[in-house]
Amino acid sequence: MNEQNKASCDVILRSLSDYVDKTLSAELCQMIESHLAECPDCQVVVDTLQRTVYLYHRTAAEITVPDDVRQRLFRRLDLSDFLKK
């Protein structure tokens, strides 16, 4: 981050979550986007942060309860009669 952009970089950093979640006002978004157009470091941070969130969500969605764990859960809850889906 170069010195003349420093103040703006700090502002970007604080608003980063709201920016990637698209919860900022149009005015603030525009301000951030004009900064990003001139600041490759902040652009990399934005891009890789979005990618980070995406990767975690993507891999989490693949996790399901394994069959043996489901069976033990149903037995523990005294629901063995309903084990067949």
Binding site: V45, Y56, A61, I63, V65, V69, L73, L79
Partner: protein, 206 residues
């Protein structure tokens, strides 16, 4: 997954509260993946996640008659699951309930600044999600302090809203936002450090 998608119809809820076992079995099947996932990500251990899964549904079964239908069932279940997971984590660390850790005190502003500016977005998804590199994702999230990790799991992995996350954890929405920003930035930095050599390697091969 947003909790709205975890909707249980009012008839099933009423049946569960009246002690209908079939209705409870349907409910367990609808919610168990979410409970298991949150527990697994907080604890990083399948056996511990299973223990939390069982304890969560035992607690739900024990208390469902007291649940008021005006409240959100998914928020309630997530809250029980998170509490069970954190309790187990503290037992393992032999730590007393760290209340200060969960309070709404203003967050300090230190170490927000990114350390790495390597652009690893160019790495192909199949490489980032390969068995070898998936380990980095788990390792990185384990490095997050507990209070940041839990917010990140609920908000970014489970896709709960800021308000729902604050209700599950009993903290303010501004605390959720601050912790989420810190969690995201820290994870991004840790992953960037892991991926840096791969980007350099790719550049050499071009």
């Amino acid at each position: 997954m947003s909790p709205e998608k975890l909707h249980i119809d009012p008839e099933t809820l009423t049946a569960m509260q009246a002690g209908d076992r079939a209705a409870f079995a349907r409910f367990v099947d609808a919610y168990s993946n979410y409970v298991y996932r949150v527990a697994l990500k907080i604890l990083s251990n399948p056996q511990d996640a299973e223990e939390v899964l069982q304890n969560t549904f035992l607690k739900v079964l024990e208390n469902i008659h007291r649940f008021e239908s005006r409240a959100s069932l998914s928020t309630w279940v997530y809250r029980i699951a998170v509490n069970e997971a954190l309790m187990l984590l503290r037992q393992q660390k032999r730590q007393p309930l760290a209340e200060a850790d969960w309070s709404d005190e203003p967050e300090e502003d230190e170490d927000l600044k990114p350390q790495y500016f390597v652009d690893w977005c160019c790495l192909p998804e199949e490489k980032l999600l390969s068995a070898e590199l998936r380990g980095y994702l788990d390792e990185a999230i384990r490095q997050l302090p507990e209070k940041l990790r839990v917010v990140f799991i609920l908000r970014d992995m489970e896709r709960l809203s800021v308000r729902e996350t604050s209700q599950v954890l009993g903290i303010s929405e501004s605390a959720v936002k601050t912790r989420l920003l810190r969690a995201r930035l820290k994870l991004r930095d840790i992953l960037s450090a892991y991926y840096q050599p791969l980007v350099a390697e790719g550049a050499r091969n071009e």
